[in-house]
């Protein structure tokens, strides 16, 4: 009998790595910039793909759960901007620090919180990463300081974390993120000054998605060159839809800080498909055509997929398998998030203070009292 090999997939058929050209970054007060070529291994590519796809599907699932009123309150989705958090995470170590604003689900995942804990936090259940008490805007984990609601308020905090990094001498850096809207807040400039004066290892990252809620950058900023706003701080403008461009730029910035050269500003030019939050349809201040154009020409996941397939780093079928696995993970996480119980009422008032004797906290009306145990 003869055996005929009809089809086989041999992983040795794939290249182990490939080199890609990435867009050159605009520089401010820098003689040289990040490399314009990036080497990506097959493993790295598959990891970036899976992470970005997971974030994409997780955000779309959150959209669905919000519309079903299973997620309440406010929800700011990150789909479209996946390359930013994945590229940044790829350039730093788990011992480095990250702080961002309220569009935080992508970073929460990239920093290591499992999807089920993120979704459970969105639905306000005790299995959530913050025990259901934080919600969409207040997710935290080790070396990830949230998740902050007030626009711009997290930036001075980021500089403080950077100061602690410098003080403890462990060669760590802090990525301090904010948006194009926040870039006009006074406290950002106060922070630039302190960071530059004290040469803090703080990487200021402006995620410019062109709209501060409903206001386009041209209508809000006298200078839309956000990478130059640090004035005396060197800056880079990066293509935020290309995960490799983000990674190379971030590596450059991290090296700059670890070498003790002080802070640096990065502007990631990116785009969000959803509106500002779930209450914003996102089409009253921009056209559907614009959103469609970005989706078809610059989608970060599609860009990565095309690169991998065209350079023989993966096959379409393999990536489809990853899609299926991601969908399954998200479904299971959503199941958990909808069935896990809410935190018990006795815990509602806890953690206001530390190490204080228990005291009473008034609830929404006179007769509801919670005990606050620290």
């Amino acid at each position: 009998a003869s055996r005929v090999m009809v089809a086989s997939r041999n992983y040795a058929d794939f290249a182990s790595e490939a080199t890609f050209e990435v867009k050159k970054c605009d520089l401010h007060r820098l003689e040289e910039g990040p490399s314009t070529t990036a080497v990506m291994t097959r493993e790295e590519g598959l990891h970036y793909y899976k992470t970005m796809q997971t974030i994409r599907r997780m955000e779309l699932k959150s959209d669905q759960l919000y519309k079903q009123k299973i997620i309440r309150g406010f929800c700011h989705l990150y789909d479209g901007q996946e390359a930013c958090c994945v590229g940044l995470e790829a350039a730093i170590k788990p011992t480095d620090h990250v702080i961002t604003a309220y569009r935080a689900h992508g970073f929460t995942y990239a920093r290591g919180v499992p999807v089920r804990e993120i979704l459970a936090e969105l639905t306000g259940r005790k299995g959530g990463c913050v025990k259901g008490k934080g919600g969409s805007m207040h997710m935290y984990t080790k070396n990830f300081y949230g998740g902050n609601g007030i626009v711009g308020a997290q930036v001075p905090l980021g500089a403080g974390i950077a100061l602690a990094c410098k003080y403890f001498g462990k060669n760590e850096v802090c990525l301090t993120l904010y948006g194009d809207g926040a870039a006009n807040q006074g406290q950002i400039f106060e922070t630039y000054n302190m960071a530059a004066l004290w040469k803090l290892p703080c990487i200021f990252i402006c995620e410019n998605n062109r709209y501060g809620m409903g206001t386009s950058v041209e209508r809000a900023a006298a200078s839309t060159d956000y990478y130059k706003r640090g004035d005396f701080i060197p800056g880079l403008r990066v293509d935020g839809m290309d995960v490799l461009c983000v990674r190379e730029a971030a590596k450059f910035a991290v090296e700059h800080c670890r070498a003790g050269k002080g802070p640096i500003v990065m502007e990631l030019q990116t785009y969000r498909y959803h509106g500002h939050s779930m209450s914003d349809p996102g089409i009253s201040y921009r056209t559907r055509e614009e959103i469609q154009e970005v989706r078809s020409k610059s989608d970060p996941i599609t860009l990565l997929k095309d690169r991998m397939v065209n350079n023989n780093l993966a096959s379409i079928e393999e990536l489809k398998e990853i899609d299926v696995a991601v969908r399954k993970e998200i479904e299971e996480a959503a199941q958990f998030a909808t069935t896990d119980p809410e935190p018990p009422l006795e815990e509602l008032g806890n953690h206001i203070y530390f190490n204080e004797p228990p005291f009473e906290v008034r609830g929404p009306n006179q007769w509801i009292r919670y005990k606050s145990v620290s």
């Binding site: 007030i150 626009v151 807040q185 206001t215």
Partner: protein
Amino acid sequence: MNLFQSITSALDNALAKDPTAVVFGEDVAFGGVFRCTVGLRDKYGKDRVFNTPLCEQGIVGFGIGVAVAGATAIAEIQFADYIFPAFDQIVNEAAKYRYRSGDLFNCGNLTIRAPWGCVGHGALYHSQSPEAFFAHCPGIKIVIPRSPLQAKGLLLSCIEDKNPCIFFEPKILYRAAVEQVPVEPYNIPLSQAEVLQTGSDVTLVAWGTQVHVIKEVAAMAQEKLGVSCEVIDLRTILPWDAETVCK
């Protein structure tokens, strides 16, 4: 009109009557996140109704300057929760301007409006009621209406009052509260509390959304406990009408 419409009507009257009046804040041009400024830009022009960048401290500081120069400034802070970067400007600059310049200068033409109070899904940063922080600051006035009819009259009084005023608008009532409101301008005096229901046993004082809760409580107390409650809407938190409350 509902509450946000009564605010729009008040602003419309103010912009019509006072050629120096300007309305500014985050996203007010398209009508505002709560629709309080819908149609005003089209009617009065983009040099009178305009957006500011995202900077509360800047908005209030800028508003103080506009007012000192002689124009009527109506600044919007998008949520009362965001008023804190402007706290220094309000307490240290606006409140003390007239006093420290010996009445040579003042920013009485300034009115700051902000959506206020709990709304059910606002959580930490879309629900706050910060009037108490400002209530101990001489030099400013704080006003909180309970309904559309009250809001329009009180807002117009704040705008015309020659002292810097903070006007908090209960956001939960923006669409929920509906009343017959005159289209023409009218004023409700500041620093005058209103007795909504007279009683003899206990006085209940409230403002904003809570007035409606207290009215229900008074009815329940009468029915279930036979207690006669006097219900007072304070309206102006600072300077407050101690006389009416104490009487």
